[in-house]
Symmetry: C2
Subunit: 472 residues, 2 copies
């Protein structure tokens, strides 16, 4: 696969579609600099071919006598570029029209429109990145909170790859020794020290187990931790989410002009993405329409990892019946979903007296071990809630900067490798012959190789890079 | 104004908001390189300060021990940059999260978020662009067809400015001579040759007139030429617009993934933007609801410059009554809107026989001087229609590459300058005294100066640059 040569030059928009101050169009391929040079008139009269790598040149993109735009052209020379090929980046004015005209011009001259992820595919094929690093590029772009960013960054910088590569190399050494034994089979020598080998296998087992276990947290971190908010209208769901959002110093809106309309959205709390799922209340009813609503609420809770039961403290403490019915609901959730983490939150405590709050709390505490009084409006208790939410997720590995597996392809390969390593372990315990041991070791090595891309095929690559955006 | 010094360093996202392969964050100011250097770890260990202008460096943006992203940093040194100050462009992975983290980091370190258009404002204040060139930058980014792009490009490259500057300089020469005469008033000398001056004023008059007249076409080109399509449902409006769109080789959808749902949209025909406005038919009726519809149609036609009356040839030729009622409608439009350009288009001619078409055409031609038979489905006649549409717009100036005024601020200033030049002209004819002539000339010069920015004030600049996007 690595020997595959691309003769053509690809072109694509590298920045998001839309109008902005500038846009960047990227060309990669052996002829990238030639293509750019043929359509570029430098202000200073310089020849693009003759310029050093990593230099920037001011000029105009021209099509015969027509000037399309004043641009800055950045030149990167093989192998010192993202793809490892010659690369040119054209920074033009950010009009959609100009972007299209420039891309069309290069297509007309013989470049090809890049397919999704093709720049990164070429980087992989040219040995600039291994496969798990290439996959991390897509994760990095998709990351929208500190935790998923940190994991993707570590993976892109090769943390995961080097961990796998180290295991693979040690295993490979032993495999070679065992295969050497086979060549000298009649002499009954043992090049590979079995006790050292057993220790190695135990260590590999341990590391694989840790990586496989990390996927549980990695997967939720990557996709956001689902939190169902059970609460009737007007208990303050939106205010709560905005309060949580404000805890982050995010200046989202200032930069991107984003606004948050829906409550069913992902927001970052303490650097970790939480997906909040809005549900209705679940009070007892004989009304058919309402019971359909309750069924839906239960379905949504089913998808969640954490359940927040949000209450209006003023309403709940208003009558004995109210607080009783709340206790019934809490017990219902606990019975039906014993596995879920339940948080009971008393909102609007600024609307009731301290003694009412004390009474309410003492009524509820026996039923709700995680009870947090807050005022989403004033911000009281929000920090305690944030801390609690993060406690519910096992973020130890994240804090300790350990490798966390987030990619299900890697998870599958690790599971298969683990299975083979178990066979090797069993083989060693039972004094299995070297040739049979060698087969299992080769299988384990194969699955390690799948992760970093030493072993691959076109289908696999196609699947992986199809998920990238065009221009990456 | 030009002496104004900015001591702070500004930062903003320069590429469109959203996820993409890469995003570019721009810093400008005396300390831009220092700020970048303090948060940048070069892969090769190079110091950013010591690097030459227009060079690119691979490394990581770090906040203490935390790595935010692997980036390319481009260094531009004062005065060789867009703003004329030190500029750094950071090309990072295109995740919204990463963009925000990097911008926040620099804000935390003491940079200031750039206000709308502030990079270009600084470029103007540092003498890199004059005001009309700066305004052209915004027009260029907003341009979405060949014509508006061409005009903005020419203006940005200084075509308009140099035309104004030349007039201004010649007028300034004469003003100086006349003011010199005032110093020698008692000696009754005449430094400024009055006949040469008259010739100059005539020339300036001519050029101003041409520029002022060009605004009529410039304005529609910039905003798109409004075309009302009068036609009942199913006469083929959408098919027609798609056929016009296909005439352009645009690969819009391939690049930006755009789709066209609505008929009320701007499309580019022959490089010029047309805004198509959908209306209903206008047949006679006594139904109140329908007559409201007709009123709306008339209101929409009022806004248009061109009216396309689109007919289904098969339906129109089916009965004598049908074709008669069409003629009534055509006459109604002509009577009510004698100033509008009317195009009658017979669509779906592939559904009728040649002799039916000949009959229908000979019936309609006496009433419709611009009658075009087409089949939007097969593409027949579309090219003729395109040519006709372009003929209706006076695009001569565009084809001849003459300066076209598109900016209403420029138009106002030109009108005012023209008025003052008229006064100078009158003064010369009536042998007005030098000191009074000088006042009118100074006024004309003032308005010329307003266009290029020799004369300006904070309010004016505020208004102009507030229309820019942040990051430009």
């Amino acid at each position: 696969m690595k020997a595959q040569i691309y003769n053509d030059t690809i072109v694509a928009l590298a920045t998001p579609a839309g109008n902005g101050a500038i846009a960047v169009i990227r060309l990669s391929g052996a002829q990238a600099i030639d293509f750019a040079a043929s359509q570029f008139k430098s202000v200073s009269g310089k020849q693009l071919h003759k310029q050093a790598t990593h230099t920037i040149h001011l000029g105009h993109i021209v099509d015969k006598n027509r000037t399309i735009d004043e641009v800055l052209v950045s030149v990167f020379k093989n192998p010192n570029s993202y793809t490892g090929e010659n690369v040119v980046e054209i920074s033009c004015h950010g009009s959609l029209y100009i972007q299209q005209e420039i891309i069309q011009l290069f297509l007309k001259k013989g470049c090809r429109m890049a397919s999704a992820g093709e720049f990164t595919l070429r980087a992989f094929l040219n040995g600039k990145l291994d496969l798990s690093q290439a996959e991390a590029v897509a994760d990095l772009i998709a990351s929208d909170n500190e935790a998923s960013h940190q994991i993707a960054m570590q993976q892109m910088r090769g943390g995961f790859s080097s961990e796998i590569a180290k295991l693979r190399e040690e295993l490979l050494n032993f495999a070679s020794l065992i295969e050497l034994e086979l060549d000298f089979a009649e002499e009954d020598v043992e090049f590979a020290d079995r006790s050292q080998f057993k220790a190695l296998i135990a260590r590999i087992n341990f590391v694989l187990k840790r990586l496989i276990d990390s996927f549980a947290v990695g997967n939720v971190i990557k996709n956001g931790i689902p939190v169902a908010i059970v609460g009737e209208p007007n208990v303050g769901k939106s205010t709560l989410l905005n309060a949580l959002l404000n805890e982050e110093r995010a200046i989202v809106s200032e930069i991107a002009g984003t606004t948050r309309d829906t409550i069913e959205d992902e927001i970052s709390v303490g650097g970790i993405g939480f997906r909040f799922i809005d549900t209705a209340g679940i009070r007892d009813t004989e009304d058919i329409v309402e019971s359909i609503g309750i069924k839906k609420t239960f379905e949504k809770i089913e998808q969640a990892q954490v359940v927040i039961y949000l209450l209006d403290a003023a309403v709940t403490s208003s009558t004995v019946e109210k607080s009783q019915s709340v206790i019934v609901e809490i017990e219902k959730i606990k019975n039906r979903f014993p596995q879920k983490q339940l948080l009971v939150i008393l909102n609007k405590i600024d609307h009731i007296t301290d003694s009412d709050l004390a009474n309410l709390t003492s009524n509820l505490v026996p039923h709700a071990s995680n009870l947090i009084p807050i005022s989403a409006k004033t911000g009281f208790g929000i920090e305690r809630l944030t801390t609690k939410l993060l406690d519910l997720i096992n973020t130890g590995a994240l804090r300790n900067n350990e490798t966390i597996v987030t990619n299900s392809r890697h998870y599958d390969a690790l599971l298969k490798a683990f299975e083979e390593v178990q066979k090797v372990h069993y083989g060693l315990e039972t004094d299995l012959s070297g040739d049979l041991l060698a087969i299992d070791i080769r299988q384990a090595l194969y699955h390690f190789g799948e992760i970093t891309g030493e072993i691959t095929n076109d289908d696999l690559l196609g699947n992986i890079f199809a998920n990238f955006c065009i221009g990456k």
